[in-house]
Symmetry: C2
Subunit: 285 residues, 2 copies
């Protein structure tokens, strides 16, 4: 399959949207790249970086003639924009997104786009704690994994185009049901992020923390430097899995605290051994 | 001050003790380096690496003729060894340790060594999640910070020797009262470590976690790969500060969970903004 789009509209021109524009241009996959955003400064930065050819503050105008639309706004914003995109886009436009939560967005896509649906939800696992079009790079998606919802009542061409898009940008696509996706990323990304945020707040309360914070603290809390709007929206759109996971996390913390409280050397050593083994299991490639 | 020891005894020849031996040798600070350990395999590895000249399984024998003794065993073991060291070491030996908790060890040092005390507690903030003499390097302490208990009823020469030792190895010494030390490192190191361990356990419970665990998860949980005995002993010897901090952590997690439960976008954005600011404040140099 050879991919080539006349007009791609990228909604949200931050790190993910800006990098998508740069990658499409570098690989000559798009004739024209439109950027939609509500902040003039971000649109200007994306234009200057060459990530987009044209800037639109009006969503309806920006999506009107696109054959591919990629929604790169934070998850709750993306969810809220789908109805307007559907109302103004071409009937044959292929639509996908990059949000870190999938259940609600894919359900909205299925509700808005009639079968065979041309909306296919995706989640490229790319990015960093940096944000904004000034940090966009054409290589952002190379070597990443992109989760794509499994084919259901989708239009087969639209489905193939969305998978092909991510693969053309150097990502490996993996099918996963939206509910399973959200449960897994809650425990591998969302809850670790919330915990890192809590650890940063906890340390900042303590006088003298700066002198004592070393490489371990920096690594453990690195993700807490991410963009607040992204993480707010992730929490809003994956509340159930995150809520259940935070309860389980609190239970594990309480177990450790109990063992510490009773000075149980055997239980503590077993706890840290199990944790080291758990990490090896989850991170080994 | 020119430092030069006839006989240095390093108790515990893992990453910290082995690296100390290598660093002393490279800088020609010791005529002879004795290693004490209870595992023959670690002693053999330390001998092979050139970290020690002689291996002792018997503590009393190992410390008998040393002019400097550095206790590099996990914190609870170090605490338990002090009385035997005191009973068998020379009266003029200078004694220090490298344990990550200081209140109980420094209190034991003050109780065992008569004023002017030749025991001075220290904590070099060096190391990694690797362990064992096979990972020892002569440069481990270079560029690190070493916390040293403030001078109280110490022998001034012994005090100067301990500070001079760490500085000779390339570390910067910072005085901090043992109780303050333990409160600060609870929040910058011990609690982040326990949280990372809980996050690893939480992810491992979830099918499919391995495919979804990316760089963020690896960084957030990196410290959970540390040595179980070290962390067991840290928990046993800093139970009060860690216990209080874990309670505060659980409260922060509960606050985030509440905001997620009621879908409070404003509170969530403010939470992540405060956390990002807190991290910048603690980690900026």
């Amino acid at each position: 399959m050879s991919l080539r789009f006349d007009t791609v509209t990228v909604i949200g021109v931050g790190l993910l949207g800006g990098s998508l524009g740069l990658a499409l241009r570098e690989r000559e996959l798009a004739g024209r790249i439109r950027g939609v955003g509500h902040r003039r400064s971000s649109l200007e930065a994306a234009l200057q970086r060459g990530a987009i050819d044209a800037a639109h503050e009006d969503l309806a105008e920006g999506v009107a003639d696109a054959d591919l639309i990629v929604v790169c706004t934070p998850a709750a914003t993306a969810l809220a924009q789908l109805a307007e995109i559907r109302a103004h886009c071409r009937a044959d436009a292929v639509v996908t997104d990059v949000a870190s939560t999938k259940s609600r967005i894919c359900a909205a896509g299925r509700a808005l786009w009639p079968a065979p649906s041309r909306f296919v939800g995706s989640h490229p696992m790319a990015g960093s704690e940096k944000f904004g079009p000034e940090h966009a790079v054409a290589t952002l998606y190379e070597g990443s994994v992109t989760f794509v919802e499994p084919p259901a009542d989708h239009d087969p061409d639209a489905y193939a185009i969305v998978r092909g898009l991510w693969e053309a940008l150097g990502s490996r696509t993996v099918e996963i049901a939206p509910d399973d996706h959200d449960a897994v990323v809650a425990r591998t990304s969302h809850i670790p992020h919330i915990a890192a945020a809590c650890l940063a707040l906890l340390a900042a309360e303590q006088p003298g923390a700066r002198a004592a914070a070393g490489g371990g603290f920096r690594d453990t809390t690195r993700v807490a430097a991410g963009r607040p709007e992204i993480w707010r929206d992730i929490c809003l759109t994956n509340a159930e899995s995150i809520g259940a996971g935070l309860q389980a996390l609190s239970k594990l913390i309480a177990e450790a605290a109990d063992a510490i409280g009773r000075g149980d050397a055997t239980a503590l050593e077993a706890f840290f051994e199990r944790a080291g083994e758990a990490r090896r299991q989850v991170t080994e490639k």
